[in-house]
Subunit: 226 residues, 2 copies
DNA sequence: GATCTGTTTTATGGAATACAAACAAACTTA
DNA sequence: TAAGTTTGTTTGTATTCCATAAAACAGATC
């Protein structure tokens, strides 16, 4: 299985869209290509891409409206708008905020790729500096680090992912099968046993602060209290 | 002695091709002249030219397909496309092409030479300014240098390429098979082992800043954390 | 209390990965 | 051209990670 970075591309001119798609694929991205706004929204929900490249003017649903709806579900996702000349610039400029960027058509593929990397970089930096407190522990998901005072231990990928899910719902029950489908892909018997093992491992690694506990809620899941 | 700059020229009309070849040679370039896409790919692999001048429409393999394959091996090489009138202009214009340029036939030799120099210039600039920070280290891809404070070590080509890929995705997982196909050409078992060895080498060379680490994500790839 | 069902923990084995060292090929230098 | 060097591949063994198995445990139900 490949873990390429997913980019959602919505562009109604198929000729241009195909060229963009192929160029991005050459650079190692996994491109989800849609030709209208509605399709794009569905694809977004199904695939959860890391970045959006959207034509502003599209049939069914324009780029701005689309972003408003997606931002309601994920307010940090970076977006690059593609705007035709005909579109008045000030509208776009006003929108050129936050995690967004825009490119006036015609643009060079190099420009687009530079901007994609710039936005992904910013996103990475933001994510990699995000440090969560769990009791006395400091937890960094993307660095897979769990620190306490001076000491720091490195978690495995699975451990880190699992702890992240638990910490997102701290002091509330995290559903067993939800974690299983999200991390393991499905919630069959064996994966559930496997997850038990990881719970044990995490408990051990979190054992130095006894205010931090992973409680079981029989039949439902686990609760990280701290 | 300074070597001549190699330019790969692929053009199926031999009359035109010969004229271009000779003009470029007059300007001091070393021109590798091919008359179809397949031959061009082989010549590329054997000679590693610095720049490509390609007819879009060619027998055996057209220019776009050819570039896609070459870009998989070297994603920065500049390309100048030669397009016949018959080719729809808008596709090309919309493309605008990254690190690329295009010339509509008929064109003057002057134009071609100006563009060649422009692209080579850009390439030089990009390469010399390519210095990335990795923790306390400074890394320059095209110079293959890894510096820390006063010290500086030279990386081998493979080491540098690999580190570059990792650093492009820092703090996120870089897919194993993606690296393998991009650097080694395919992701079979043996190349994977070879890559392991390079990961070990890089870890050693990066070991002086312990905030920099290459983590493994079992079954997926590696993550450069810093 | 006996039994059932779901949870916790420790143990085990296989696959993926780590690393050192031997090797081969390409390139330098004398 | 031969000897040394550098680079990348191959090989062999050690280690890590995770899935699965097995066994001990705890609540619930009868």
């Amino acid at each position: 299985m490949t873990e390429k970075i997913k980019i959602l591309l919505a562009e109604d001119e198929t000729a241009l869209g195909t060229i963009i798609k192929e160029s991005l694929e050459t650079r190692g991205f996994d491109v989800l290509f849609c030709t209208n706004g509605e399709q794009a929204l569905n694809t977004y929900r199904a695939e959860k891409p890391e970045l959006l490249v959207l034509d502003v003017m599209m049939p069914k649903k324009d780029g701005f409206t689309l972003v408003k709806e997606i931002r309601a579900e994920n307010d940090k996702i970076p977006v690059i708008f593609l705007t035709s000349k005909s579109r008045t610039e000030d509208v776009v400029e006003g929108f050129g905020l936050g995690g967004n960027d825009y490119l006036k058509k015609p643009f060079s593929m190099e420009e687009l790729i530079v901007r994609i990397h710039a936005l992904l970089d910013r996103k990475r930096k933001r994510e990699s500096s995000e440090e969560v407190s769990i009791g006395k522990y400091r937890f960094n998901l993307s660095k897979q680090k769990l620190g306490l005072g001076e000491k720091e231990q490195t978690l495995t990928h699975r451990e880190a992912q699992l702890l992240f899910h638990l910490s997102e719902n701290r002091n509330a029950v995290t559903d067993r099968s939800l974690i299983l489908t999200q991390l393991w892909g499905n919630d069959d018997f064996f994966n559930a046993r496997s997850m038990d093992v990881f719970i044990t491992k995490l408990r051990k690694k979190l054992s130095e602060d006894e205010t931090v506990e992973i409680l079981n809620v029989r039949g439902y899941g686990y609760k990280l209290v701290c």
